[in-house]
């Protein structure tokens, strides 16, 4: 490098940059003069510039690879085959304009949104007709099951009608009511007796009670004939002898024909298990009153119970968990009481359905459901 004060000292990299730019004609006139002065005064810089110039010339002189024959034709054909988005459509003569796919997507989105917004809310389809049998098993003159028909009505309406009938029953048949209360007090109601508070609440929630007939009305007709007989076994024998084919356990809740005559094979056993004798009277196995308790009383009502309910032997309280469709997924018996596998199976076969409420209550219920996704509540089974 030069030691002259008027020539700036450059590092090797700075000198290479200047020479490189000079070879490409990228230097300004001042920079070009500076490089020329430097090269003139510094032989090493001059040699470096000459060497780099020769190198660049050699690189530029390198032969260019020959383009393969018909490259453009092959490329065009390949692009037309693989690259055309509408190649399938092209085979049938359909060549959409650019942006066609986007426009189609936008239109489809608008149509979909319109359908989603304008579509009316799905109506709840009531499964009906649903016949609910309410009767007093202790009334001698009770004919065939009195059908309280709730034909395809919403659960709430059905529940209200059931409550009205219950009120009528209380108003016009005080004796029967009193007798039922007496029955309840005398029945082995171990589970309910320990939960009187809960049962009082249950009374307030009568709209969710549904009576399930466990026996045929014939029993009610037969029973008075045996009142004189204080022998339980004798009463049972009489029943078996007098009306063996009519002693049924055909009480059903949902979608059933009005108490048709059922096969006569099992009833004796049912009757034997469910019958009790009190005050010299042979009493038929009674039905169940199923009521929903707790917070769930406003949200769930019994929709369907299995056929052939077990004979009523005492009140029972179950805590059940429902899935979204109202089927019982888990249950546990609450309170003291002997385990009854048949009753457990009976409860497990129940199907509940949500009660339609006004929007506000429904929103609250939905909020509760969101907090606890699965319905978990108690139901009480009380002998009628």
């Amino acid at each position: 490098m030069s030691a002259r004060p008027d020539v700036p000292r450059l590092s090797e990299e700075e000198l290479d940059l200047l020479i490189s730019r000079s070879l490409d004609g990228d230097l300004s006139p001042e920079e070009e003069q500076q490089l020329e002065r430097l090269v003139a005064l510094d032989p090493a810089a001059a040699r470096r510039k000459a060497g780099l110039a020769a190198l660049v010339a050699d690189v530029k002189a390198l032969p260019e690879p020959a383009t393969p024959f018909a490259l453009a034709t092959r490329v065009s054909g390949n692009v037309a085959e693989r690259g055309r988005p509408g190649s399938i459509g092209g085979r049938i003569g359909f060549f959409p304009a650019p942006g066609f796919a986007k426009a189609a997507l936008v239109i489809l989105g608008i149509v979909g949104a319109s359908i989603a917004i304008l579509r009316p809310a799905p109506k709840r389809l009531a499964e009906g007709p649903v016949d609910v049998y309410l009767y007093d098993a202790a009334t001698p003159a009770s004919p065939a099951p009195q059908a309280l028909v709730a034909e395809a009505k919403p659960p709430r309406e059905r529940a209200n009608e059931a409550a009205k009938d219950l009120a009528k029953e209380k108003a016009f048949a005080p004796e029967a009511d009193a007798r039922r209360k007496a029955d309840a007090s005398e029945a082995p109601v171990s589970a309910v007796a320990g939960d009187k508070k809960g049962m009082a609440k249950l009374e307030g929630a009568r709209q969710n009670e549904v009576a399930i007939a466990a026996d045929a009305p014939v029993l009610a007709q037969v029973a008075p004939k045996q009142r004189a007989d204080r022998d339980e076994a004798g009463a049972l024998d009489a029943v078996r002898q007098q009306a063996p084919a009519k002693v049924t356990n055909s009480g059903t809740l949902a979608a059933s024909a009005p108490a048709p005559a059922a096969p006569a094979a099992a009833p004796a056993l049912v009757q034997a298990e469910g019958a009790s004798v009190r005050d010299g009277e042979s009493r038929a196995p009674r039905g169940w009153t199923v009521s929903v308790r707790g917070d769930a009383v406003r949200r769930w009502s019994l929709r369907r119970a299995p056929d052939n309910p077990p004979p009523a032997r005492g009140a029972a309280v179950y805590r059940v968990t429902l899935d979204a469709s109202g089927h019982v997924t888990a249950l546990s018996r609450v309170g003291a009481g002997a385990a009854d596998p048949r009753l457990d199976a009976f409860v497990r076969g129940m199907v509940f359905e949500p009660i339609a409420h006004p929007a506000e209550a429904q929103a609250k219920a939905a909020a509760r459901d969101a907090a606890a996704p699965s319905a978990d509540f108690e139901i009480g089974l009380e002998p009628r």
């Binding site: 290479d16 940059l17 990228d26 390198l62 383009t67 393969p68 490259l71 453009a72 065009s76």
Partner: protein, 218 residues
């Protein structure tokens, strides 16, 4: 299309005469029908397939030349196919901020890099000890200059091969700058567009790449 299409820079003829194997005659023939970037693009975007075919005919030779220098002639055609396939799908998004040539070069450079990376790894596995550059550029240096004697042609061939080997051995960033500037004849600004770096970076990379080349050859 509202995009501003930069005028296509006419092909550089400064070193065309020095090239032994110039671009194929078909490309030169197609240049007579070349309507220019803007008209070809407009034709393509209006749905006329011939617009894209014109683009392919005009630029495929240039793209092949770049690809061959980056990955070798054997792989260059695949790079060209991938480049134009991508260009076909992306041409609607081409805004014309750069020239069509530099845009295609940028695509080709990326495809070559991706392919070269795969090839290098495969070669390292299956042919250990064989250098990449010797494999890639060997076929390009056999052309003889009829104006030279056989001895001079032999020396020339040897010098070319050493030079190609040196170029191929450059680090990727320097090699791309040298190839684009010295072999493809792009301006600093075009090289900057293709590489996506500032012009100052192109200057320094070129200077550094040339210095490295000189070191390797000396």
């Amino acid at each position: 299309m509202p995009a501003r299409i930069l005028a296509f820079e006419a092909s550089r003829a400064n070193d065309a005469g020095a090239r032994i194997a110039p671009v194929s005659a078909s490309i030169h023939a197609s240049d007579r029908d070349w309507p220019g970037d803007e008209r070809a693009l407009s034709r393509f975007l209006s749905g006329d397939v011939l617009g894209f075919e014109q683009i392919v005919r005009h630029y495929s030779g240039m793209v092949f030349s770049l690809a061959a220098r980056l990955v070798g002639p054997s792989e260059a055609e695949d790079v060209v196919q991938e480049t134009f396939l991508r260009a076909y799908h992306g041409l609607e998004r081409f805004r014309g901020e750069a020239s069509l040539k530099t845009w295609l070069y940028a695509i080709a450079l990326n495809r070559a890099r991706a392919r070269h990376g795969r090839l290098a790894r495969l070669r390292a596995v299956f042919t250990p000890g064989k250098t990449r550059e010797g494999d890639v550029f060997a076929s390009l240096d056999d052309a003889a200059d009829p104006a030279l004697s056989p001895e001079e042609n032999a020396l020339l061939t040897d010098r070319r091969r050493r030079l190609r080997a040196a170029v191929a051995a450059l680090p990727d960033e320097f090699r791309a700058a040298v190839v684009l500037r010295d072999l493809e004849g792009l301006s600093y600004e075009e090289v900057a567009e293709v590489l996506g770096v500032p012009v100052g970076t192109v200057r320094s990379r070129l200077a550094r790449g040339r210095a490295l080349l000189k070191e390797k050859l000396s």
